[in-house]
């Protein structure tokens, strides 16, 4: 399972649960806090297909 992703040149490591907060947005718990991932980010598709 994917456990790292990079956005705006920052690398995040997924450390906890992924919460769906709307049909286009997720809350992803990482080593740098809980990050809002939406469908404009490449990682969104990977996480929702995973």
């Amino acid at each position: 399972m994917l456990n790292t992703f990079t956005y705006n040149e920052i690398e995040y490591t997924i450390t906890g649960p992924i919460e769906v907060i709307s049909d286009t947005q997720l809350h992803v718990e990482t080593d740098k806090g809980i990050i809002l991932v939406d469908d404009t980010m490449d990682i969104y598709k990977e996480l929702t297909n995973g």
């Binding site: 705006n8 920052i10 709307s22 049909d23 740098k32 806090g33 809980i34 990050i35 809002l36 980010m41």
Partner: protein, 257 residues
């Protein structure tokens, strides 16, 4: 008999007087040139002009400076050259020397816009945390407060959230906290206290869905922040019924340094 090269006298035709030399005085000097007498007339005005110096040429003051009492008094009245951190303090590590304005970032308040027609989490208000507000080596606390309200509709909950990002966008934003306004409620307030460690990190007490982080001993979450760029605090509304309208009535932050 003595031999004189020069001799002279007041011009005998002038009226004699006592006291200081006058410009109209005239002295006649005589010398022997080639065996003949040559007379040279010198006026009092010429002597006075020569004595007063004409155009001044400045140089080093000989003697003791403090003995030049008027000059010393004038020098004593002058302010020392300002040296930041020596005889003039800094403000939050910012030098006050030079021209320009130093804006104070504290107490930033933002008024929100209505969010309706969507069930996605949406920014209603934002407040800029300007670049370099947070200073390396200077820890501080940032107190965020916000109040969300139901503008219309009463059929579902409305979530009021706080995030941080380097642009006014929720993509990649760091979640700070959230509360829900119940289906029959109209207002909800929340607050969070962020701690800047002075080294690159911000931590926040993390009872994620409670009104205040002052009423629970939950865990902390730490996120990296780049203080050298603009950051934004984002105040969001998420209606669980797209027909409802919510608004962050206001959101603000206060820095306690």
């Amino acid at each position: 008999m003595s031999t004189f090269n020069w001799w002279g006298d007041w011009r005998p035709t002038l009226t004699p007087h006592t006291g200081n030399l006058q410009p109209t005085d005239l002295i006649e000097c005589t010398s022997i040139v080639g065996g003949a007498t040559v007379n040279t007339a010198i006026t009092g005005a010429q002597i006075i002009a020569a004595a007063s110096g004409g155009s001044a040429t400045w140089g080093g003051i000989t003697g003791t400076l403090s003995s030049q009492t008027d000059l010393q008094t004038a020098l004593n009245a002058k302010q020392d050259t300002l040296v930041s951190g020596t005889n003039i303090k800094t403000v939050n590590s910012t030098s006050l020397l030079g021209s320009g304005d130093i804006s104070l970032p504290s107490n930033k308040i933002a008024i929100g816009t209505n969010v309706t027609g969507t069930i996605a989490n949406t920014i209603s208000a934002n407040a800029l945390l300007p670049a370099n507000t947070l200073v390396t080596g200077k820890p501080c606390m940032i107190h965020l407060k916000a109040r969300g309200r139901r503008v219309s509709g009463a059929s579902a909950v409305i979530a009021c959230g706080m995030y941080r990002n380097t642009s006014v966008s929720l993509s990649g934003a760091t979640f700070l906290g959230q509360i829900q306004i119940g289906a029959t409620n109209t207002l909800g307030q929340l607050e969070r206290h962020l701690f800047w460690d002075g080294a690159g990190n911000i931590s926040v007490h993390f009872p994620a869905t409670l009104v205040s982080d002052m009423i629970n001993n939950g865990s902390y979450t730490t996120s990296v922040i780049n203080p050298a760029v603009d950051n934004y605090f984002l105040y969001t509304i998420q209606c669980s019924n797209a027909g409802d309208t919510g608004q962050m009535q206001w959101g603000l932050y206060i820095i306690y340094a």
